[in-house]
């Protein structure tokens, strides 16, 4: 037993050594990723307990979250003196010792989110000349005295969410003069006193986030003549407390919405009365219910410029709302309208932006429901189940200043010639994922002189209609993704010939098999062509021979061999993506492979550009392939020279041998 035991034990030791060796290898395998050479590194989730030696001293941005640093002190980061941004999210930090950042003069952001901090030394944040952003989210703070105040004069944002804070009163020596963002979301703040608010007096144009705190009381006068950029009281149960408490304040943007997981009180005109006592430009009331909804609900909204009523269970807006002449932006997303006229648009004559998207019912556009909105510039009607057999002149009557129209993700629309005659100033039109019926030879976009961007992706267009895109003299950006062409090919004469000003063309996922060599003639200004996710072969590249310096995406096609005559076309472009193609890495493609090596700087997606053929090279990156093919001209030259020299040598040798032989006779 004894002699058997000894080798087993030594083998076991050997095995343990082996496995230990393996662990070291695996951990050194998973090293920090370089995002920008010598500057930006990500070392997250590596279980590191110190800064790895491979990080250069010049590192400026370090994402070091989810590692293990129970205590940090002046030696921890001492080598990386150029740090600007340091993310130490969830590193199990308990202690921030004295002078941790003493030599980090440039540091401007420290993220300590999710660390169970026990103590921060008085001088732990000293060093940085201009510390601007400090994240102390969910660090267990219950008292603002916990934060060392010595080097916070330049602080612009302080994030204190998800802690146990009950009062926002800052210590008297806390420098708040440069604060712009103060985030207290998800704490236990229930009361705001005058003293609390006075401690923030030096801060100007502050954005204060008290989302998910459930404020139960505000001392009268606490907000008297205070000015805020943003105030967020999201999820507060009793809004009357807030609106009473904010008397005499000036607020650019007030967020009072609630959430699906929060109980809320119905908003009555009496509660909203509080708005008359303050100055607010923009208000959000998302997800609330209204009681006694009438024109009286809006009597204190007269100074408002922006109103967001997303998901407020609205079936209609009352007609006869008076005095809302200043409203510029109205958001009515995710409500329950049956017809567009139910929003009583005439009450908001100055409206420039109107958003009605994701309506919970199929929305009927009606006729002329928005005709009083003469100043409207942007209209979003996406995701509404809108269906119309003849769109859109009657429905969108009299919108002379409309610049952006979004009708994407709707039900089928029938378009006739000049379908957008009522909005001649359109610059952007989005119809993506809305099935369009256009009869040949109608030109629905005719006379949109100013249209620059047209998104027709997945519209199931009849692309054989050569007049489809007629009358768009300024169109720069056209997206035709997901539309099909007859026989999978774009012929010599096609619908693109009428849009000569095109700069960006997207023809991805169009099931294309080929493109005629002349198909893009007349499109001289193009600088971005996306032909990805088709079944194009190398020959289709010749359609681009007249273009120079463009971005060309040919990813995920069927390109195997790129012949010699199309290489100049590729050479003259600035960026090319050939990834996810079944590229041939045999000698029959040697010209392309050589070209590829010489033009690596122009190629995008190199990691995914791989050989499909021959089988032994399948999956190998094209940039790694080394191929020597047959005898080249240079090879033949050297071979001939070699043979010639060899012959001379042989003749001399024989001569010498013969002479030597005869001399010895």
């Amino acid at each position: 037993m004894g002699p058997m035991m000894a080798p087993s034990v030594s083998c076991l030791l050997l095995a343990v050594l082996f496995s230990a060796g393996c662990k070291v290898i695996t951990s050194s395998d998973q090293m920090c990723t370089e995002k920008e050479a010598n500057k930006i590194y990500n070392c997250e989730y590596l279980g590191l307990s110190k800064i790895p030696d491979i990080l250069p001293n010049t590192t400026e941005v370090l994402e070091f979250g989810f590692n293990f640093l129970p205590a940090i002190q002046n030696t921890t980061f001492s080598r990386l003196i150029n740090l600007i941004f340091l993310d130490l999210t969830r590193c199990q930090i308990n202690w921030l010792h004295e002078d941790t950042f003493q030599s980090h003069h440039q540091l401007n952001t420290i993220v300590l989110t999710g660390n169970p901090l026990i103590f921060m030394a008085e001088t732990s944040l000293n060093g940085p000349k201009s510390l601007k952003h400090l994240f102390l989210t969910q660090t267990g703070i219950s008292d603002l005295e916990f934060i060392p105040v010595h080097n916070l004069e330049n602080l612009e944002s302080l994030h204190l969410g998800s802690n146990h804070i009950t009062s926002i009163e800052f210590p008297t020596n806390f420098p708040t003069q440069n604060l712009k963002i103060l985030d207290f979301q998800n704490n236990a703040i229930h009361y705001l006193t005058r003293k609390d608010m006075d401690s923030l007096k030096p801060a100007t144009n502050l954005s204060l986030n008290l989302n998910s705190n459930d404020i139960k009381g505000i001392e009268p006068g606490a907000f008297h003549s205070k000015i805020f950029q943003n105030l967020n009281f999201g999820g507060t149960f009793d809004l009357s407390v807030i609106l009473k408490g904010l008397q005499n304040s000036t607020i650019q943007s007030l967020w009072l919405g609630t959430f699906e997981d929060k109980e809320d009180q119905d908003l009555s005109p009496a509660i909203l009365q509080g708005l008359c006592e303050m100055s607010v430009e923009s208000i959000n009331l998302q997800q609330h219910h209204f009681s006694d909804f009438s024109s009286a609900t809006f009597q204190c909204f007269t100074q408002l410029q922006e109103l967001d009523l997303t998901a407020t269970h609205l079936k209609e807006l009352p007609s006869g709302i008076k005095g809302m002449n200043s409203l510029k932006k109205l958001v009515l997303n995710v409500n329950n309208f049956d017809q567009l006229c139910e929003i009583s648009a005439a009450s908001f004559p100055s409206l420039t932006h109107l958003y009605i998207k994701g309506n919970r019912k199929k929305l009927d556009l009606g006729a002329g429901c928005l005709e009083r909105l003469e100043n409207l510039q942007k209209l979003d009607l996406s995701h509404n189940g809108i269906e119309a057999s003849d769109c859109c002149n009657l429905q969108l009557k009299n919108l002379p200043h409309l610049q952006c129209l979004n009708l994407s993700y709707n039900e089928p629309l029938g378009l006739q010639s000049q379908a957008f005659k009522e909005s001649p100033r359109l610059e952007l039109l989005d119809l993506a994922f809305t099935h369009l019926h256009v009869n040949v030879p109608q030109s629905p976009f005719q006379n949109l002189q100013l249209l620059q961007v047209l998104n027709l992706s997945y519209c199931l267009l009849d692309t054989s209609n050569h007049h489809l895109l007629a009358g768009l003299p300024n169109l720069r950006h056209l997206n035709l993704q997901g539309n099909r062409f007859q026989d999978g090919s774009i012929p010599k004469t096609n619908l693109l010939q009428t849009v000569g000003s095109l700069e960006i063309l997207i023809l991805a996922s169009c099931d294309l098999l080929s493109i005629d060599q002349q198909a893009f003639h007349g499109l001289e200004k193009m600088c971005h062509v996306d032909l990805s996710h088709n079944s194009l072969t190398g020959d289709s590249i010749s359609a681009l021979s007249h273009l120079k310096g463009i971005y060309l995406n040919l990813a995920a096609n069927n390109i195997c061999i790129v012949s010699l005559h199309v290489l100049p076309t590729l050479s003259q472009q600035s960026t090319i993506n050939l990834s996810h193609n079944p590229l041939d890495c045999t000698c029959s493609n040697i010209h392309f492979l050589t070209w590829f090596k010489e033009n690596l700087h122009k190629l995008e997606g190199l990691e995914e550009t791989m050989c499909a053929n021959p089988p032994p090279l399948k999956g190998v990156k094209l940039s790694d392939v080394k191929l020597s093919c047959g005898i080249t001209a240079v090879g033949i030259f050297f071979l001939i020279v070699f043979l010639f020299l060899f012959t001379i040598l042989l003749v001399f040798l024989i001569k010498f041998l013969l002479r030597w032989k005869y001399q010895h006779i």
Partner: protein
């Protein structure tokens, strides 16, 4: 010889598990006489906790759930993808926004990377009578850059 074999065996056992890492344990989200929901985290970096309050093949609308996880990303924007399969064939795929910049549906929207999130509350689901059978459900939570926030392989057994 025997020693060497034993050593090799021990070595193989001690070796850190390769590439995909070891799988997270399978948890029970809920169980009663007619319905059982099991899940397993498919995020290689972390497990998460999840339970459903009432379990019954006659699923009530607006179920209450409990969810606990550490956020790997900021969730100002958060989306859910669900794929439902039975016997390997797909029945249903859908995508649902939970947090959007212009519409944060839940109070946790806007929390940041590294925060521990604990949610107890409704999920706003429709009512549903689950037909008998065994279903595979793949759930994925991700942000606007499609970075994973949580991933679950669930099995629903209805008898």
């Amino acid at each position: 010889m025997g020693g060497l074999t034993a050593a090799l065996l021990i070595w193989a056992l001690l070796l850190p598990k390769g590439g995909s890492g070891e799988a997270w344990p399978i948890h029970t989200a809920c169980k009663d006489s007619s319905l059982e929901v099991l899940y397993q985290s498919c995020d290689p970096l972390q497990d998460f906790g999840f339970s459903i309050d009432q379990c019954s093949k006659d699923l009530k609308p607006n179920l209450s759930i409990r969810l606990g996880l550490i956020l790997r990303e900021n969730i100002k924007e958060l989306f859910l993808d669900i794929a439902l399969l039975t016997k390997g064939s797909s029945i249903l795929n859908f995508s649902y926004p939970i947090c959007e910049g212009d519409h944060p549906k839940f109070s946790f929207c806007g929390r940041s990377k590294g925060e521990q999130l604990y949610y107890v509350g409704p999920v706003n689901n429709p009512g549903l009578l689950v037909p008998e059978g065994e279903y595979q459900v793949l759930l994925e939570l991700y942000d606007e850059n499609r970075s994973t926030v949580a991933c679950a392989n669930a099995t629903v057994i209805c008898s």
